[in-house]
């Protein structure tokens, strides 16, 4: 039996099997597959599929918070409520601003840092390892840290600006309506830009060097080589980073909760935060469910785009 441990022989043996034998083997395989998958599928049925469907149903009910409250079917009333509320549209705008600015800056800085590491300056290995640290710091710790940095009483930002002579007295940064969202974005970039930089750096490392060298021989300068050779080759990796980050940024909650709690005056209220408030603070679970259905829809559309890219190997190679 030992010497037949050769895939070639194995495949000829499989061909010579009588058809009946082969089909039972296949059935056996399918049974094993289901056996292995059952625990995971049961868990996901319980904590993902059922809640998604339940939320969808809930979005058509008038559902005040509380277990024994009477629920009544209200049709599209929750959706109409949601779409006619000015706060909703403002929140969509703010969430889009957060997502656009945060992801945009992450991609620009991420790409720049990836390219910097790729150019092998002194200490590039240390730089690459350092990038892992902000990524690994828990989101809530990151949020708390920046909230303290922005503090009006003892914050490092005030301390720094004062020593540089840029401000005369401490500024309550997070109470400034037009600053708050941008400050949350800086905190978010600190935490998530390393992911983009590391992914793009890994992608850069897989690019063929000779292309670059050939272009250099042909007289292309660094700038031209970057825009015309590297960037097009990096496109798949950039797109994947873009999609993953957009999905995450669109449903941002933790960091807003801890830095500003949506304030001042709703200036940092995002769509997930609004959903949370409706479901657990305003006592409007139906509206909360309608909002979460909206978030799911957006997410699933992004997931479909993601799957399209992932399942086209000729694109990603």
């Amino acid at each position: 039996m030992r010497e037949s441990a050769n895939p070639l022989i194995f495949s000829t043996m499989a061909i010579n099997h009588p058809i009946k034998r082969q089909s039972t083997l296949k059935q056996q395989d399918a049974r094993t597959a289901w056996l292995l998958l059952t625990p995971s599928l049961l868990v996901m049925l319980g904590v993902t599929l059922w809640p998604v469907i339940s939320t969808f149903i809930l979005s058509f009910l008038n559902a005040p918070t509380g277990i024994n409250q009477l629920r009544t079917f209200v049709g599209f009333a929750n959706y109409i409520d949601m779409l006619t509320d000015q706060l909703f549209w403002e929140t969509i705008g703010r969430t889009a601003y957060f997502t656009g600015v945060s992801v945009g800056l992450e991609l620009i800085f991420g790409l720049a840092i990836a390219q910097l590491i790729h150019s092998r300056p002194w200490g590039w290995q240390f730089l690459r390892i350092s990038l892992i640290i902000p990524w690994a710091v828990p989101t809530i710790v990151n949020g708390a840290m920046w909230r303290w940095i922005y503090s009006a009483d003892f914050g490092a930002l005030n301390g720094l600006l004062m020593q540089l002579g840029l401000i005369k007295h401490y500024v309550p940064w997070l109470s400034l309506p037009n600053m708050a969202m941008n400050l949350v974005i800086v905190a978010d970039i600190w935490h998530t830009m390393p992911f983009v930089a590391l992914v793009l750096q890994a992608a850069l490392a897989t690019l063929p060097e000779d292309l670059d060298e050939a272009a250099a021989v042909d007289g292309a300068n660094v700038w031209q080589r970057f825009w015309q050779i590297r960037l097009p080759l990096l496109r798949p990796a950039i797109l994947v980073a873009l999609i993953v980050r957009t999905v995450d940024a669109f449903r941002v909650f933790d960091i807003v909760y801890i830095i500003t709690s949506g304030g001042p005056a709703y200036k940092t209220l995002t769509i997930t935060y609004l959903t949370y408030l409706n479901s657990f603070a305003f006592g409007k679970q139906g509206t909360g469910a309608a909002l979460s259905f909206l978030i799911s829809t957006f997410t699933i559309i992004m997931a479909l785009i993601y799957i399209r890219f992932l399942y086209r190997p000729e694109e990603t190679q």
């Binding site: 599928l41 996901m44 993902t48 809930l58 910097l116 350092s130 710790v141 959903t275």
Partner: protein
Amino acid sequence: MSYRKLFRKLTLFLLTLPVFFFIFFPLLWLFSASLSNQVELFSVPIHWIPEHPTFQNYFDIFFPSLAASSVPRTFATALLNSIKIASAVTIICIFIGSLAAYALVRIPFRFNRPIQLGIIATRMIPEVSLVLPLFIIASSLQLINKPIVLIITYMSFALPYAIWLMAAYFQTVPIELEDAARLDGCSRLGILFRVVMPISVPGLVSTAMFVFLLAWDEFFYALIFTSTLAAKTVPVAIAEFVGRYVVNINGMMAGGILAAVPPVLVALIFQRYIVRGMTAGAVKG
């Protein structure tokens, strides 16, 4: 020529400095502030390095019964809760997730592809879309404030992630090994447990690490499903105290540093796997 090269090297090096500053300045300040006392924290101009550094805030968290304020006591409890919950989630996910991943990678059957696509899709569904029904059922079963409710709900994001990472790893296991075992009379399950699992230990370790970090970081479910101090995890405990003004801020800073140490250490030790895990799907496809 060599001057030009030196100039280039120097320019590149100078470019790395602002990046290092952006990464380390916030953390170093937080650490330095956690070593100062309340009075020094509020001093103007700012003391970048405390004149009277003290490890009292850290000491209080490790020996909560001796501490004067309630912050370190709550924090110590939360730390234990987080360790318990994150470990349980990791063990369950690794076990059932790798079984599922193996089936999806190596056994062709009718619903293989639909299930794979379903798993990628569930990985992206936000917690906020799932939380209402889960909250309603957890309250009616009186599971609020019990660790089990967090362990179960964390599966919604941790399990698809674990399956995804393990699947990517199993794909790298040479199929010839499995064919050989099969000819030797090994069953599918025998192959999985005696051949594939033992050589997949690095994959299991890095997946476990990712799942642990996810569970350690989780905030939203923990916020919804816990209300008593005894049930809170680290992120919720931090959020709870940060919102109040009067409490011991330096104590919370020490708590924040301590909460960041385990994930940062784990990430640094396994940094080779991290980039691979991040890029599973992004670079390889």
